[in-house]
Every structure is written in structure tokens, then in C-alpha cells.
């Protein structure tokens, strides 16, 4: 793993200095949360089971940064590095591909966690949402979710033909996946059919784990199995499909 610390530091600097991705990961979900909270307030309401709006939304919001990192940042970042020739330049050094991947994942993981934790703190400290029953469990669930999204992101990065496709398809995918997180639409109010469809979204299951820890219950095993399966399958795919070069 020679070069790993240096590469982590370089990717970190590069990412922090990129205002758009920095905004999306760190600022976006807390900002949206703040705006919605200011509009709707957090008074207990019957349609939310006598909980407040923010109480209801917050667990889902922690998942938003996770989705953004996996579907947008990871593939976009990698496609831009590939298209610009930066990956080619790395390839003529003794750097091992796995060191590159590890450093990239480390940085993206940290960003995703920071985004999720920021959203959490804004909700709890800013709008008086009760602390989760199992804060550590929530963090572990977010981290697990982040791993699945990173694995998906690496596969997408290998499949997207160019950075423009990554942005276009990524945006669509991001919106769909976010819908299934329960952040914007409480899943409880949806019809059975839509709920069944949501179960195909990994994000639905990430949100399920977060919700469970939030309410102090055990993780639903079905969701754990689905997510573990996603990690295994997409890590294998991402590794298999990873390429340094732009297509020739």
C-alpha cells in the first residue's frame, strides 16, 4: 500500500477544493432539511403518528449524503480522472490499482459520513429532534449503507461511457433512490404496490436499518441480507470492470 497516505491526502484536498461536490455532500442535505423544517415546523402531527415533520424525516435524511456519494461523486470523480488522463498518469507509476481504489474509497467514505452526521446534528441540535435510541447503531447503519453505495458507485463508474452520462444518468438515479429513502415521502403513506417496488432499492433497506436503530429495535434481517448481497455482488462487479484508461 505504498502511496496510500499520500494519495488519501491528495484526494482529500482535491475534493475539498471542488465547490460543487463539497456542496452536495456536506451542505445539500442539511440545507434542504433546514428549509423544509422552516416551512413545515416540527410540531407533532397526526399524519406522522403524532411526531413532528423533522422527527419523521431525519432518519431518511441521513441516507441522502450516502446516495449522493455513491451515485454521483464516486462515478463522476472517477470518470473525470479517467477522461482527463490523470488515471493514465497514475498508471505509469508503480502505484497498485488497489491502492488507488482504497484511497479513493477512504476519502469518499469520510465525505459520506461527514454529510450524514452533519444532517443528523442539524436535525437534533437545530430542530430539537430527539437523539436516536441507538446513536452508534445509526452510524453503523449509515456506514454499512455507504459501503453498499460505494460498491454500486464503482460499478457505475466502469459502466458510464463518459462524464456527461455520469451526470445525466446519475441525477436521475439519485432522485429515484432518494425517493425510496423515506426522506421526502414517508414510506408508510404509500400503497402496498409502491412499497413492494421500493424493496428493490438498496436505499430503502439502508433507510430501514437506520430507522430500526433510531427507534431502538433490532435490524430487520431481510434488509441486512439484501445489503450484504449488494456489497458482495457490486464489489465483485466493480473490481472486474475497473479500468484505468478511457476506452480506446
Amino acid at each position: 500500500m505504498r502511496g496510500y497516505p499520500a494519495l488519501v491526502s491528495a484526494f482529500f484536498k482535491s475534493q475539498v477544493r471542488e465547490p460543487v461536490s463539497f456542496f452536495f455532500v456536506i451542505i445539500f442535505s442539511p440545507a434542504v432539511l433546514t428549509i423544509l423544517a422552516l416551512i413545515f415546523g416540527n410540531d407533532p402531527a397526526p399524519q406522522f403518528g403524532m411526531r413532528g415533520f423533522v422527527d419523521q424525516m431525519l432518519p431518511g435524511f441521513t441516507v441522502i449524503s450516502v446516495v449522493i456519494v455513491g451515485v454521483m461523486l464516486v462515478p463522476q470523480n472517477q470518470l473525470l480522472l479517467r477522461a482527463s488522463g490523470a488515471l493514465t498518469r497514475l498508471r505509469i507509476t508503480p502505484l497498485k490499482p488497489r491502492t488507488y481504489v482504497a484511497a479513493d474509497l477512504t476519502v469518499q467514505f469520510c465525505f459520506g459520513m461527514v454529510g450524514a452526521v452533519t444532517a443528523l446534528l442539524v436535525g437534533i441540535l437545530g430542530f430539537g429532534v430527539d437523539w436516536p435510541k441507538q446513536p452508534l447503531g445509526v452510524l453503523v447503519a449509515v456506514a454499512f449503507g455507504l459501503l453498499t453505495m460505494l460498491a454500486i458507485g464503482y460499478t457505475l463508474a466502469a459502466l458510464y461511457p463518459n462524464p456527461a452520462a455520469a451526470t445525466g444518468i446519475g441525477n436521475g438515479l439519485m432522485v429515484i433512490l432518494m425517493m425510496t429513502s423515506g426522506a421526502f415521502i414517508p414510506t408508510a403513506v404509500l400503497s402496498d404496490g409502491v412499497q413492494a417496488a421500493f424493496k428493490f432499492s438498496p436505499v430503502y433497506h439502508i433507510a430501514a436499518l437506520v430507522d430500526a436503530s433510531w427507534n431502538g429495535s433490532a435490524w430487520p434481517w431481510g434488509s441486512v441480507v439484501v445489503l450484504a448481497g449488494v456489497v458482495v455482488v457490486f464489489t465483485a462487479l466493480g473490481t472486474l470492470l475497473f479500468k484505468w484508461d478511457r476506452a480506446r
Binding site: 505504498r2 502511496g3 497516505p5 499520500a6 494519495l7 491526502s9 491528495a10 484526494f11 484536498k13 482535491s14 477544493r17 471542488e18 473525470l80 480522472l81 482527463s84 488522463g85 490523470a86 493514465t88 498518469r89 497514475l90 498508471r91 505509469i92 507509476t93 508503480p94 502505484l95 497498485k96 484508461d245 480506446r248
Partner: protein
Amino acid sequence: MNAVICREVHRHFGDVRAVDGVDLTIAGHQIFGLLGPNGSGKTTLLNQLQGLDTPTSGTVEVLGLDPIRQREQLALRMGSQLQESTTIPRLTVAEAVKTFAAFYPQTREVDPLLAELGLTPKAGTRIERLSGGQRQRVFIALALIHDPELLFLDELTSAVDPQARLAIWDVLRDLRGQGRTIVITTHSMAEAEALCDRIAIIDHGRIIAEGTCAELIARHASGTTLRLQTGAPVDPESLKTVDGVTAVTRDGSDLVIVGQGQFSPKVMAKLAAESIEVTSMNIQEASLEDVFLNLTGRAMREGE
């Protein structure tokens, strides 16, 4: 030991034969130039040598290694500056050089290297905000950071000003003095003549001539070119009879006379005898330009 050996190397992209049967041996401890016009296959050939691309057919050996299968071993001993150079975005010069230094077990010190390339004042500037020539020097620094025994430099001075170019040439001559091997591509005749110990001329993916500059000129372009402008029109045929003249052509308003030995005074004497005034004249010894012209029938102009 030979630094590079290519045997019958082909690289085709569909119908395009970017590299079309290259047999080439590059001995160590010298500056070797690949000289050719745009699209002649220089970069494609270098890609095969650096393990960035696999030949359609043929074999490549670099420092005795297979560039694809022994990529990592080769990367430790080889330094490269790619024609289209970029690196991790938004890093400063010093950050980028230090990051790359961390990939190697042994490296040079960063500060003296930056100083040598005139980059010290820019060490804290992001690479994207540098001028083209400054950026090119950053990528030369990245190529040199691990003190490699073999360097591939693709168009190393195409964007730099004459002063920086001379400084870079000096750096390369020093490296050669330390016994390193340097392979450059260029379409600058001047650069090839000034810097390279040996030159291979490449055209349409083929090496059409190889040798020292003097050898190439002696073999493919011996002779002197006399360019004249005259007050009155001259019939080119009338000058072909002058002793030593081998060819007379018109190039716009210029009369171009090519020949061997001391033919110039004789041409001038003949024109004087016919009372034709010579308004301008220019004598040029044969150069690499003529080598290319003679071998391909086309001119290869710099920057074209």
C-alpha cells in the same frame, strides 16, 4: 545494454496503421529522438513502450522487461512525461510532486528539483493556474522525481519559451552525463539537431531513417541549397549546366538551386555575365528538413 528493443511492432486502430512495423533498438546512455510530423505515430509507439497500450502484433522490450506484464518493475525505473499531461485536479505544484514522490521507494528531494526546473516561485500554485510552459515543466518534474534510468518525454518543449527550452535541454544533457537514457519525441528539427545523439525519423507509422544527425544528412541529403531572388527572370534550365548543380526549381519568387561543392560562386558568375541582378541570396547547408523532404517528398514544417 539496450534500453529499448522493438521487433515488428504494429498498432492498428481499425484501418489506421498508427504504428506500422517498427523495428527499433535504442542503446542506453544517450538522448534518442523520434522525429516526425503530426499523426506519424510517435505517441502511439511510446504508449507501447510504456505499457499503456498493447501492440496489435510484434514484441517490445524495455530495460529487458515486458512493459505490460512487468509494469510495476518498469515503472520504478522509467520516468514519463505524456503528451497530454494531467494529474489529480486542484493540487498545487508542490503537492502534486510530493504525492507522486510517495509512490516510489527512493526519490530525489523535491525543492532542488523544482529549483532546477525554475518552478520554485510556483510551488504553491495550483497546476491548473499555471501557463502551458510552466505546466509542462511540472510534468517533467513528475517524470524525474524518482531519478529514473530511462526517460520518455513526449513533446517536452512544445509549449515552452526559448529560454526555458534551453534550460530543459541542459537538464537533459546533465542526465545523459549521469548515464541515463532519454527518449524524446519532437517535430522540431532544431531540437532534434541540438539535443539528440541519434534520431529516428518516423512517418506514417514507419521508421524511414535512423542514425546520428550527421549520418542522416550525409546519407539522405548531402548538398547545399542556394536561394536567390533576381531582378530579371531566369530560366532554371540555363543554370542546370553549371558545374556541381544538381537541381534548380522555383519556389514562389525564389529560385532554389541545389548542388554539391563550390557551385555557388559559379552560379553568381554566370548570372553576372548575363547582367542579371541578384537582389537577395541565402545559402543553407543540408539539414534534417532536407532529409525528410528527400525521403518522403513532403516538407515537414515545425508546428504543423
